[in-house]
Amino acid sequence: MKGRDRDRSPRRRPVLALAAAAVGAGFLALPLAGLVWRAPWSGLARAVAEPGVGTALRLSLVTSAAAVAVTVVLGVPLAWVLARVQLPGRRVVRALALVPLVLPPVVGGVALLLALGRRGLVGQWLDQWFGVRLAFTTAGAVVAQAFVALPFMVLTAEAAFRNADTRLEDAARTLGAAGWTVFRRVTLPLTAPALIAGTVLAWARALGEFGATITFAGSTPGRTTTVPLEVYVQLEAGRLDGAVVLSLVLLAVSVAVLVLLRDHWLGPLRG
């Protein structure tokens, strides 16, 4: 209604703003067009068969799935505490949860190295006591992805827990349901759409992770060379087709996530 009213108003069209907006939209669309234009559509099968491409795809699927599992396990409880528990220093913790969002990923990688690397703050003990080494391993790639993806999970889940009607939880308690039962049977189903949205966002972020991964986990084919890293490797080696194919995969995933979240999950959150 509002939009239609605005269209009917006798004001002149803001030509200048429209022109600027067109340039802006073009700036966003042009690189995508370039990618699609340069895609080796006829030789897709051959490009996928290039050494490294299939391996990177498989590795990315495994590591991003593992990273999402980590963000769910760490992020959901953290979000719940931030949303529901009155704690001193809660604002500090919330700011902390946002750090990976604004931190350059490569810096995140360096930080992870200094914390969890073989000589790192905690890493040296992990190595000495448990023989666990994260840096430059597949597990390290998972850690790097989880680190950058966590804010998406925490932010979405915290908003969901905050917006969930606590009176329904009260009702559940008067009916004899204790903490965990209330969470499992009332809070979780009520917040499920937002939690799924957070999971999908975190997954998309983990899948595209580059900077932190290459810094903390390096690039070892089949172990830490995920799709974004492989794109770079292929480009460096002058194999443009492989780079483009992998880029198209990431682009397709991004578009799918966008469409999925718009239609199914972000809708209720927008209200």
Binding site: A171, T174, A177, A178, R185, P189
Partner: protein, 354 residues
């Protein structure tokens, strides 16, 4: 050993509200808690359910101490034998009506098949046997509130709390749901506390009325007690009588300003309340000559028809409400702004010490 039923002393501060209420309810008795918005009615129920902690006081149910503050036991809401029907029903939107009713039974550890079987019986009890698979969003307001009632009854608690259970319903549905509720309350063995701001609801459903204002009990008793001896302007307004506060001196009560009432009943000098039932207030277009001792001039401020009668609000030195027949409104041509004479017989003024 304390008496069976509910014995509660509730003292707590929540934002601007300072609640200090003593309440006792016998098993099988329904007490209605009435009061204006913000009086603390809902908070009182939430405190009894354990959803809000007491600063001081205690909640004892059938001799079992559920809460004693500041130092004493505190039984969490999920372990109190207390069920609650919430305003706006608060059914779980993701569960079917049947699963909503079965929720408490399942939380209590009952097996699914048995819980569903009993839930079906309770749904049948509120006349909704065929709506078991419906989601709350598919139920009408009245149906949802009946499911909410069944959900609370199903856990067979010893104290039932009802927070404005009918407030969200339209007038037609409300009457039907009220009858349904009345029948179920009659069959409920535990104590029940009903929060409402509707005196009709309180009268139909409750054995005793407690009026809460600004976190305190201003009056309790039967509806007749409240009507005959209202202790605050809110109570008077609630039951529809005129209440005046003043000082008795001999056969006169000096009110605020220059106004005074002549009364017939003997009362000790001092601060008093005077009640005049609207039916006892007569209206005239010209100064009446008669035996009435209280006569004054005023102006009509509003006429509210109620069936064959009308309540006429008269402003002036002594604002008062008169209840007259619709025919009288027509004969006297009463409308907003009409100058009228008001008369009240001294014998119709009921005076009692404040």
């Amino acid at each position: 050993m304390t008496a069976p039923g509910l014995e509660a002393e509730v003292e707590l501060t929540l934002g601007p509200l300072v609640l200090a209420v003593g309440l006792s309810v016998a098993p099988g008795e329904t007490v209605a808690v009435l009061g204006p918005n913000g009086a603390g009615k809902t908070t009182l129920l939430r405190a009894l359910a354990g959803l809000v902690a007491l600063d001081r006081g205690r909640v004892v149910l059938d001799g079992e101490v559920l809460e004693a503050a500041p130092a004493g036991p505190w039984v969490p809401p999920e372990r109190r034998p207390v069920a609650m029907v919430f305003q706006n029903h608060l059914l779980f939107p993701h569960l079917s009506a049947l699963a909503n009713v079965a929720f408490g039974l399942r939380a209590g550890g009952m097996r699914r098949a048995e819980a569903d079987r009993r839930a079906r019986q309770w749904l049948d009890g509120v006349g909704l046997a065929d709506r078991g698979t419906a989601r709350p969003a598919q139920l009408s307001g009245g149906e949802a509130q009946r499911v909410a009632l069944a959900r609370a009854l199903a856990v067979e608690a010893r104290l039932l709390l009802l927070d404005e259970p009918l407030a969200a319903l339209d007038a037609t549905t409300r009457a039907a749901t009220r009858r349904n509720l009345r029948r179920h309350l009659a069959g409920y063995r535990g104590a029940r506390v009903l929060v409402t701001h509707d005196p009709v609801e309180a009268m139909v459903l409750a054995d005793r009325l407690v009026v809460l204002e600004a976190g305190r009990v201003v009056q309790e008793g039967s509806l007749a007690d409240l009507t005959g001896r209202p202790r605050s302007p809110y109570v008077a307004d609630l039951v529809g009588v005129n209440l005046f506060r003043g000082r008795a001196q001999g056969d006169r009560v000096a009110l605020a300003g220059p106004a005074e009432l002549v009364v017939a009943s003997a009362v000790a000098d001092g601060p008093v309340l005077a009640v005049v039932h609207p039916r006892s207030v007569a209206l005239y277009r010209s100064a009446p000559e008669g035996s009435a001792r209280n006569v004054w001039a005023g102006r009509v401020e509003g006429v509210d028809p109620e069936g064959a009668r009308a309540r006429v609000r008269v402003g002036g030195c002594l604002p008062i409400v008169a209840e007259v027949t619709a025919a009288a409104v027509a004969d006297l041509g009463l409308a907003e702004g009409t100058p009228v004479w008001v008369s009240v017989k001294a014998t119709e003024v009921d005076v009692y010490a404040e």
